[in-house]
């Protein structure tokens, strides 16, 4: 009985850990794949002033960043530049499965034109928040963006 309990406990721990981060596993799987570009940026990398060369950094966005009760830990992107639409479909199936498995909540879905889609997914815990955005343009291009925030305690 004890043995059985121990085996069950260990299996439970393993399965919990194994199923915890499917989206992150996707990044690990494809980051070195030739069909993809992988980009990672630490949340604290550079100062905000260093990033003012970004054309879209607006004043209100700037304010939101500082008033926010969350800190960006890091962000990363996987960009698929493949003309192969069937691979795009299979990759998207993997992405959707991982998001579902990690229990992300789909918060918005924008469809521009026939094939252009932008979807946003969020997952919150007591001290962390993850945002995933998926951009598809239908011609074999997919951007998977993942942002991790820590929530400041009030």
């Amino acid at each position: 009985m004890k043995k059985l309990f121990s085996i069950m406990l260990i299996t439970l721990v393993f399965s919990a850990v194994a199923s915890a981060q499917q989206v992150e596993k996707l990044f690990d799987k494809y980051m070195e794949d030739e069909r993809f570009n992988y980009i990672y940026r630490k949340g604290s990398a550079g100062s905000v002033l260093d990033r003012t060369d970004l054309e879209n950094l607006k004043t209100d966005a700037f304010n939101i960043r500082f008033k926010s009760d969350r800190n960006k830990e890091n962000e990363k992107m996987l960009i698929l530049n493949s003309a192969n639409e069937s691979f795009q479909k299979s990759f998207m199936a993997e992405v959707n499965k991982a998001l579902e498995s990690d229990k992300f909540e789909n918060t918005s879905y924008v469809r521009n034109g026939k094939d252009n889609r932008v979807s946003e997914y969020i997952r919150k815990s007591s001290d962390k928040m993850e945002e995933v955005r998926v951009i598809e343009n239908g011609s074999g291009n997919v951007v998977l963006k993942w942002e991790l925030y820590t929530i400041r305690k009030k």
Binding site: K2, K3, S6, L9, I10, V13, F14, V17, E24, M31, E32, D33, E34, R35, F36, N37, Y38, I39, Y40, R41, K42, S44, A45, G46, R51, D53, L54, E55, N56, N74, E75, M77, I79, S108, V110, N112, N116, V118, R133, I135, V143, K145
Partner: protein
């Protein structure tokens, strides 16, 4: 005394009963042993020793005794705890290793950009481009919200009422 002699004779002939042997035993344990019987004392003293050197009774363990001994249970428990602890340490190390990224990391078509400055430039540019696409996609939402606001029936009716009121006032004058 003849009684004891008879009993002794029976005993050494191997025909004494249990009761008779008991009587002999009691006699030799007591204090009133006659001098002629003293030589047998050591023989009957062996009664007690005989009892002590009996082979241990073979007992078959009951189901209860099949349970693991306390030490074994403790070992199982400790092993289980150690396994869980090891798992926790391993995964926390993995998490730590994951968090040990450089500030920027760029891999283009399977090849890592080693130059940190170039990696930074590329990363900033690509994040900026992506943010633009996302921003533009939500532009439609903002426009729709504005249209919705413009088409607000209550607002239109209120404004119309104000206009009518204004015309009436002007007409009276």
């Amino acid at each position: 005394m003849n009684d004891i002699d008879n009993l002794l004779e029976k005993y050494f002939n191997g025909v004494s009963s249990t009761e008779e042997e008991k009587r002999l035993k009691n006699y030799f344990e007591g204090r009133g042993i006659l001098p002629e019987h003293e030589i047998y004392r050591s023989v009957f003293a062996a009664f007690n020793t005989e009892k002590q050197i009996k082979a241990p009774v073979m007992t078959f363990p009951e189901k209860k005794t099949r349970r693991p001994a306390i030490t074994r249970r403790i070992i199982i428990l400790l092993a289980g705890s150690a396994a869980i602890g090891l798992l926790a340490v391993t995964f926390s190390n993995l998490q730590y290793a994951r968090s040990q990224h450089p500030e920027y990391m760029v891999i283009v078509n399977g090849k890592q950009v080693v130059n940190q400055h170039k990696a930074q430039q590329y990363a900033e540019h690509m994040f900026s481009e992506t943010d633009k696409i996302i921003e533009n996609s939500y532009q439609l939402f903002r426009e729709a919200a504005t249209i919705n606001q413009d088409l607000n029936a209550e607002k239109i009716l209120k404004e119309t009422d104000q206009k009518i009121e204004c015309i009436k006032t002007n007409y009276k004058q």
